[in-house]
């Protein structure tokens, strides 16, 4: 990969839209503009000005589309390189043709995320921020967007910096005892060293705990609705969606395939999956639907097990209990507007139990809240200070730091300082890799500012 080659890609989402934007970044951006874009007014492309004109096929001279074009000269652009954007009509065919034209000028199709990667490589943003930009684009919900925005502003980077600070302090102590044995430093203060490491571990642990939440906010959750036939799963789905998405009849076994819809509860993106009712059946098509439902159970983040509260606990209900055993499940007691006959065994195995009446909608809001509360624990999610790990890369780096630190803590009583220092340095390096930082001579600076050294 050469940084100097010029890349291009369609920057608007696939499909038909009002406008389609083709972005070009690199040395040849201006040349591409001059070749295929003819402005209505002479004077060519002026940096950071929109101009109106036509895109022509250079080979045939044929006019491909009317378009607006803007050229942004480096470094004042998204990638800090020369950037050209062609805003044409949004039809997919048109956009594809324009892109093909651009590529025919000797430009390479960009890899996914390459524009942002260049912005990072060119020093415009740090690694966490680069990732955040990707997340902003992919945000599926309000809270996902908020989280990404905070990360881009550097909230996570600051927390990582706190961890580094603690580790540097611990390392400075260890190094001082190693390098200045003849100075009057007193006995090795293992407590102070452990305290600094403990503080770092605390922050790391807290960050690791947010990983699930961060991932949930970023990617959303999948919620699987299961229950015996006619328990009211499809009615519940429609209630949750506020629309008649699933066909509701009184005939058991109406839903044969899985119906999938995405909604937002309280800022949480939820992928709802409605499934065929689970029962013994000889109908091959229905049995296939049931198998599909059962297959989905292990992958779902949460299961809503729907029971008909107006009927007694049945053999089919037992099938459901068996199927969801060991999974995070909310028991949804439907038809509570009717007299209750259901006695649900072993209620404690559910993470929650919610009574609803899907037909009237009673209890559905409470159910939504209960679903959210399963994933968004911290009320802190609303506060400005909320920081969460949302990427596996961050988690892996911190997990590896955590491992070095527990190795450190195990070794502390033996006080093999130079081995302890190696563990601390490895942990520092792992933590630094989140933000793309490496420890330099900060340790010595700390030693000299905290100890009176020199004989």
């Amino acid at each position: 990969m050469y940084i100097r080659d010029t890349i291009a890609a369609v920057s608007t989402p696939p499909g038909n839209g009002g406008i389609g934007i083709i972005r070009v970044s690199g040395d040849q951006a201006a040349a591409v503009g001059h070749t295929i874009f003819k402005p209505v007014y002479d004077g060519g492309l002026v940096s950071h000005r929109f101009s109106f004109g036509a895109i022509r096929d250079t080979a045939t001279g044929e006019k491909v589309d009317e378009a607006m074009a803007v050229y942004m000269r480096a470094p004042r652009s998204y990638t800090r390189e020369d950037v050209l954007e062609l805003h044409c009509h949004g039809g997919w065919l048109v956009v594809e043709r324009v892109l093909a034209l651009v590529l025919s000028c000797g430009v390479r199709l960009a890899d996914p995320g390459e524009f942002t990667r260049r912005a990072f490589l060119n020093g415009r943003i740090d690694l966490v921020q680069a990732e955040a930009v990707m997340d902003i684009i992919a945000s599926k919900s309000e809270s996902a967007l908020q989280l990404a925005q905070k990360q881009r502003e550097g909230a996570l980077s600051r927390r990582i910096e706190d961890v580094r600070g603690c580790l540097l302090r611990a390392l400075a102590l260890v190094e001082a005892y190693i390098d200045f044995p003849e100075d009057d430093l007193g006995a090795t203060d293992a407590e102070a060293i452990q305290a600094a490491v403990g503080e770092a571990q605390g922050i790391i642990d807290a960050l690791l705990l947010t990983f699930e939440e961060g991932r949930v906010i970023r990617d959303g959750v999948s919620v699987l609705i299961v229950g015996k036939p006619n328990a009211g799963k499809s009615s519940l789905l429609n209630r949750l969606l506020n629309e008649n998405r699933a066909i509701v009849t009184h005939i058991p076994g109406t839903t044969r395939d899985i119906i999938e819809e995405t909604v937002t509860f309280d800022g949480l993106s939820v992928r709802l999956l409605d499934t065929a009712g689970i029962r013994h059946t000889d109908d091959l098509v229905e049995q296939e639907g049931i198998n599909r439902a059962l297959d989905k159970i292990p992958q779902a983040d949460l299961i809503l097990a729907v029971f008909d509260a107006s009927r007694e606990f049945s053999h089919e209900d037992q099938l459901i209990l068996d199927a969801v055993s060991g999974r995070r499940t909310i028991a949804v007691l439907n038809k509570t507007d009717l007299p209750r006959r259901l006695v649900l065994p072993d209620e404690e195995r559910f993470v929650a139990l919610v009574k609803i009446a899907a037909l009237s909608g009673d209890g559905v809001d409470l159910l939504k809240k209960t679903v959210c509360s399963q994933f968004l624990h911290s009320t802190a999610a609303d506060s400005r200070e909320f920081v969460a790990l949302s990427r596996a890369r961050h988690r892996d780096a911190l997990v590896s730091a955590e491992q070095f630190l527990s190795q450190f803590s195990n070794g502390l009583p033996e006080c093999n300082l130079e081995l302890l220092a190696l563990d601390l340095r490895s942990a520092l390096q792992a933590v630094g890799s989140v933000t793309g930082q490496t420890a330099t001579d900060e340790v010595l600076d700390l030693i000299f500012s905290s100890f009176c050294i020199g004989k």
Partner: protein
């Protein structure tokens, strides 16, 4: 100006710890060498503390010795107290330290120089380099003589424009009692070198007859004393103790009362001093909560009454000095024989050097020691050795010797200096070495002896001894890897005695030795062959087995960094043409001009992203070169 009618291969300017090693290395490699000094009676003089070694410094001395340098042998012959520091910590951070008889140390080094073939010793002050057509041709002396040479090594220590401070009095001097070197640094500046100013200091020398030693703690050396050099069998000098004393609140009050006449605090001194070796007034001001500071009263020799109070350097006026030293318990009646003083001197920014210590600015010119912004005899000697070797290699038309960061502390030090430069006097610490577990005192010979031998600095006889040691280590490692416990009656009895009943039959000795509760001496109980293993072999085997996991981890890190360390940056690379670099990074790189990507990555402020960009730029430009 008269021109001397002989062309030397190497001229070394300055006969301190750097200059002596440089001159000996060049001469031993067969080059016609001349060593010039302002004062032939002050060769290898210990201008400050009368000791060699310490943490990381001891490591340097062992490396110098492994390469065939002189420092270790010199201290072994003249040392009067030897100690290993950090014995309770791991092998990587154990370090040797010795007190020297200062006069014997100097005289022995002078004798070694005098007996060296290919080496001329001359007294004189170099005032300028002699250039022809912009090329280095030799040196010019204040006495009006010009000496010609193919290469020049400058090791001026604190002498260039040296300025001594005692209170608000100051006067030119290279060291108390010696003239400074004037003129040379001005010429270096006009040649394009960045000349800066540093400061260091030394405590008073005290009359031991006026000290009540019964009031002080006594500190003896190790018995038996262990030598520095791999070639020394045993220490035969008489050994004597040091003493420990402490300052008190009254001492600190006296110091504070003199601060208004301190050249440091009144702004008279412009040079930057070392943070790790602060003057006593610095300690009192920066750490006001500390109620006492420790000092070792070190003897300056067997035959002298002069003693050196370590850590008590000062530039305060003489009346404050007298009152201050006398405030220390045991020193109430102390007489000062030589006052403490601070000294400012010129140094040249070491980022203007290649890793060979040749300057980037003027070909065939090498800098070593305090001129490069370092402090310490050991740091100076390490650089002097490398500069002397590389000047000789240049004369012979061979590639320079560059030690890597994973090979030697000397490599770490030189890489730090030429990559980062320095703003304060640079001292070696073990924490500067990222591969600390690999760079131990005990394996300095395994790391460097072969190199020294190939250079011609290690004698045939020394190398044969080393090769035998290396062979025995390998053999013993191989042997214990396959020797298994048979659980004979005597073995079972020994295991039971050590509480090791859980050890399975068939366990290898290597496996056994990995346990933290087993040492090599225990093996010797179990296995008759182990009993015969010499101590130095035992030590190596034990360390290499016990720390294997950690050592392997470090070797892996070395492997990982190799890609960056071996990626060379063209000398003439125009950083302005690497368009994606930020202005800040571009300025830093243009100033430092690193030789490799590894060096570039260690420059503060050069981000990993910038390294990616550079590495891509290097690839694409080499691609362009082949295309054209």
């Amino acid at each position: 100006m008269m021109t001397y009618d002989h062309i030397y291969d190497v001229i070394v300017v300055g006969a301190g710890h750097a200059g002596c090693e440089a001159a000996l290395a060049a001469a031993r490699m067969g080059c016609g060498t001349m060593l010039l000094t302002i004062n032939l009676d002050a060769i290898a003089l210990m201008s400050c503390n009368p000791s060699i070694g310490g943490l990381a410094k001891g490591h340097l001395v062992k490396e110098i010795d492994a390469l065939g340098g002189e420092m270790a042998k010199n201290i072994d012959a003249t040392g009067i107290q030897f100690r290993i520091l950090n014995t309770k910590k791991g092998p990587a951070v154990r370090a040797s330290r010795a007190q020297a008889d200062k006069q014997l140390y100097r005289l022995r080094m002078k004798r070694v120089l005098e007996q060296q073939t290919n080496l001329d010793l001359k007294q004189g002050e170099v005032t300028a380099l002699y250039l022809e057509g912009g090329e280095l041709r030799g040196v010019e002396l204040r006495s009006g003589i010009r000496y010609l040479s193919k290469t020049v090594v400058i090791t001026t220590g604190t002498f260039m424009r040296g300025l001594i401070h005692i209170g608000l009095n100051h006067y030119p001097g290279g060291r108390a009692g010696d003239q400074p070197s004037v003129g040379l640094s001005d010429q270096l500046r006009t040649l394009g070198f960045h000349v800066g100013r540093l400061k260091t200091g030394t405590p008073a020398r005290l009359d031991s007859r006026s000290i009540d030693f019964s009031q002080l703690e006594t500190q003896f050396g190790d018995d038996p004393p262990l030598p520095f050099s791999f070639s020394t069998d045993r220490i035969s000098m008489q050994q004597i103790p040091c003493h420990i004393a402490y300052t008190n609140q009254r001492s600190h009050d006296i110091i504070r009362s003199g601060l208004d006449r301190s050249p440091l605090y009144s702004g008279v001194i412009e040079g930057v001093g070392p943070r790790y070796c602060p003057s006593i007034e610095d300690k009192v001001v920066r750490f006001p909560d500390k109620d006492r500071h420790q000092t070792f009263i070190e003897p300056e020799g067997l035959d002298t009454i002069e003693v050196y109070p370590s850590g008590m350097s000062t530039s305060l006026p003489i009346d404050i000095q007298i009152a201050f030293y006398r405030s220390i318990v045991g020193l109430e009646r102390v007489e000062i024989m030589r006052p403490a003083y601070a000294i400012e001197y010129d140094y040249v920014d070491p980022i203007q050097l290649h890793t060979s210590l040749e300057t980037k600015t003027l070909r065939n010119l090498y800098h070593a020691g305090q001129i490069n912004g370092t402090s310490g005899y050991e740091e100076a000697a390490g650089q002097g050795l490398i500069a002397g070797i590389n000047a000789a290699l240049r004369v012979k038309g061979r590639d320079p010797l560059v030690l890597t960061r994973s090979q030697a502390y000397i490599g770490v030090m030189i890489d730090d200096l030429v990559t980062l430069g320095t703003k304060e006097p640079y001292r070696m610490f073990t924490s500067r070495a990222e591969y600390r577990l690999l760079l131990r005192e005990d394996n300095a010979d395994l790391r460097l002896r072969e190199t020294g031998y190939q250079l011609g600095l290690v004698t045939e006889q020394e190398f044969v001894l080393f090769a035998e040691k290396r062979r025995m280590i390998t053999e013993e490692l191989d042997r214990i890897a396959v020797t298994r416990l048979r659980h004979s009656e005597s073995q079972l009895e020994v295991l039971a005695r050590h509480g090791l009943e859980d050890i399975q039959k068939g366990t290898t000795l290597e496996h056994l030795l990995k346990r933290s509760d087993v040492c090599y001496a225990d093996l010797a109980d179990l296995d008759p062959v182990s009993r015969e293993t010499p101590a130095v072999i035992r030590e190596q085997v034990e360390i290499q087995i016990k720390y294997k996991g950690y050592i392997d981890r470090q070797m892996e890190q070395v492997e990982q960094s190799k890609k960056l360390e071996t990626a060379r940056i063209p000398k003439n690379l125009d950083y302005a043409s690497v368009k994606s670099l930020t202005t800040e990074v571009r300025e830093k790189l243009s100033k430092n001009r690193p030789d490799t990507l590894g060096q570039a990555s260690r420059i503060p402020g050069v981000t990993p992203a910038a390294i990616s960009i550079l590495s891509i730029a290097l690839k694409s430009s080499s691609w362009k070169e082949t295309a054209e």
